[in-house]
Point group: C2
Chain length 449, copies 2
Amino acid sequence: MKVVKFGGSSVADAEQIKKVVNIIQQDEERKLIIVSAPGKSKLYDYKITDQLIKLFEASQESNTYDSYLDSILQRFSEIIHNLNINQAVLTSIEDSIYSVLESHLPPEAKLDEMKAIGEDSSAKIISAYLTECGMEATYLNPKEAGIIVSNEPGNAQVLDESYQQIYKLRKKKGIMVIPGFFGFSKSGELVTFSRGGSDITGSIIAAGVKADLYENFTDVDSVYTVNPNIVHNPKNIDVLTYKEMRELSYAGFSVFHDEALIPAFKANIPVAIKNTNNPQSEGTYIVAERKQHKQCVVGIASDAGFCSLYIHKYLMNREIGFGRKIFEILEEENISFEHAPSGIDDMSVIIHEGQLTPEKEEKIINKINHTLQPDTVQIEHGLGLIMIVGEGMLNTVGVTQKATTALKQADVNIRMINQGSSEVSMMFGVLEKDINKAIVSLYKVFFAE
Amino acid sequence: MKVVKFGGSSVADAEQIKKVVNIIQQDEERKLIIVSAPGKSKLYDYKITDQLIKLFEASQESNTYDSYLDSILQRFSEIIHNLNINQAVLTSIEDSIYSVLESHLPPEAKLDEMKAIGEDSSAKIISAYLTECGMEATYLNPKEAGIIVSNEPGNAQVLDESYQQIYKLRKKKGIMVIPGFFGFSKSGELVTFSRGGSDITGSIIAAGVKADLYENFTDVDSVYTVNPNIVHNPKNIDVLTYKEMRELSYAGFSVFHDEALIPAFKANIPVAIKNTNNPQSEGTYIVAERKQHKQCVVGIASDAGFCSLYIHKYLMNREIGFGRKIFEILEEENISFEHAPSGIDDMSVIIHEGQLTPEKEEKIINKINHTLQPDTVQIEHGLGLIMIVGEGMLNTVGVTQKATTALKQADVNIRMINQGSSEVSMMFGVLEKDINKAIVSLYKVFFAE
């Protein structure tokens, strides 16, 4: 049994939906279908979810929201017309929008209900079209599917009891089309996941039914070795391990939201990344273990927006408790850190810039000065991290040499290296302005030669 | 005014002491002389301090100690005879040994008094010989000099109030010869520093009198760029900064005990390392700041005997407080750590192996398992650290590339890199067995080409 998820561009218009149905028809193992809301396409330069949010906001501020409502309904109407399915589907979509607008829920819950309409409508349309094409297909609401979540609007967390419920779907006949992006709390409220949440839904369903494969259809042929916005037409990755994927996506790989795949990983379900527009392409498989490549580096990721908190105190390493106190201060300010390389008399803590405000920075520096009396404490902004990823790297001679040679050739100053704490990655800190030339040079050394 | 310290080999016999006096005569700024106990020499293959400890131990166990006593007295007697100075000095040394043997002090205090006799006798002999040579010289006991310390036998710490006392020595006339290695507690007990403590005494006196220079005479021409036991006849270092010296001596550089120079550093006194046997040689200067070398690496140090505590937990970096809890556990066991590189889901803590016993290891691992429920926790033994040191390294492109190329050429697998936490060093973790070939290759790349 395969769980198949189609992203926003795969369901953006009737033409795309026909491809989706074609893909489903190709393989009778494809029984559980998760769909996103219609995204951007050749015909439409906006995402339905964004329109729904604007509609909600206008309604909250008692502004006129007709233009948003019209564009949403017109788009669904066109899709339904072009697929030649029953107009009742459109009426049902229209009804659900009005029902949210007229409800007396608190604003946060109301917003979640509104946002969910995009995915919900996709699922209704696609199940209708599958039926129209002569297949046995039903729309399945996440509540019926068994997705039970915490009641945190916009940030739902799946509850473990869901999986038992979801497992029962194995017994159902025909194709089930489930809207992604939301679940229901124990008391019955609709709650959405964080953005990109259709990946999460697919991952939860795949884990729950113990699928043989979780296929994730997007608009790229595969996961690439480096960011294609930096290197033109880079090589693709055929097989990745979960660990490798996690390290890559952590440092800015954009195929997935960081943690969308965790339920599938935990249940040991292999994941395939495939292209709706080119389903013949092999795609990228993400698995628990893979055969060791000759070339142990599989991908290189990069991200900007980091800063480094640097603390120097003469004889620091004689002071038992120094590191603990620094971490305690960060914890009090609710700041998580990425890396914390330490020297004899120095310690650096790498932090996502997004977590800091000028006030918070000042507070942290004051606390450190007060508690630890260091000789120096300062924050350096504008750092980028580059992550070179591959299982087996730790035991391979020469990987570091290759990487540092590439950076030298690109005249990139290495501000920081962290190697050896992780078994599957090596991290370089560079100035943000150097990220692109660093990646170009690293790609050349590791993949193009 | 210069403070000059002579080490054990410089005062090992009459021939050496004549060199010392000659050096003192060459420069009238050399007014405060600190001396060690006689060490090994061409004529004697033992150190006086070791004999004094054996003498003490035999006396404690009521064994016969005559052979130790005889060899000590005979050696001093020979020195005194060959220098042709007053026999009263020998009588005074003999008296002080008997006085300790007959005292009713607790064993720890008695041992400290016995150990101090080596340095104390050196100072008496040399001041007598200086006088004999027609110079104005006096023996100055550390109590008279103003060295006030904490009452921790074998591990005295200087008290800040010493410095005011010591400053008064500037007004005294003539040359003062002070025995190294010990001071006196506020209540008047003699307490020794940790081994190598004559360096500490020199450093304290230099700081106290605000010397223009602290000259440290040993038996090497200079500080070397790498360990001369690994690389034959390596290049010397002409100027080092305090920071560089600290990082080098931390990782096994053997010229000094790790922290002997701290009082001088704190008082901003430049230090010169010179050779008693070749005083014409320029030696190595250790200063607060130096002009930037073209070659920014000044030295490479290495040390064995480390282990790595590795902790992996899926989604570790989302858990605020994880790092802090690990440090807390180590703190409870009174373990200080050297470096703590962390990855996304991993953290390694590098610890001096000497701090761990199998029982302690088990306790730490159990505590971590209990408190943090990690996926993996393990300790890897047999690690060596290599420290490449030089101010300005952080801002120089290509240093890392040079280093990793050298390690690759030597077929050394890099287990760990820590760069960027310190501004003056870069640390590589390798297997202990690889240290020597790594250093040979690094020396070639950084200094021989």
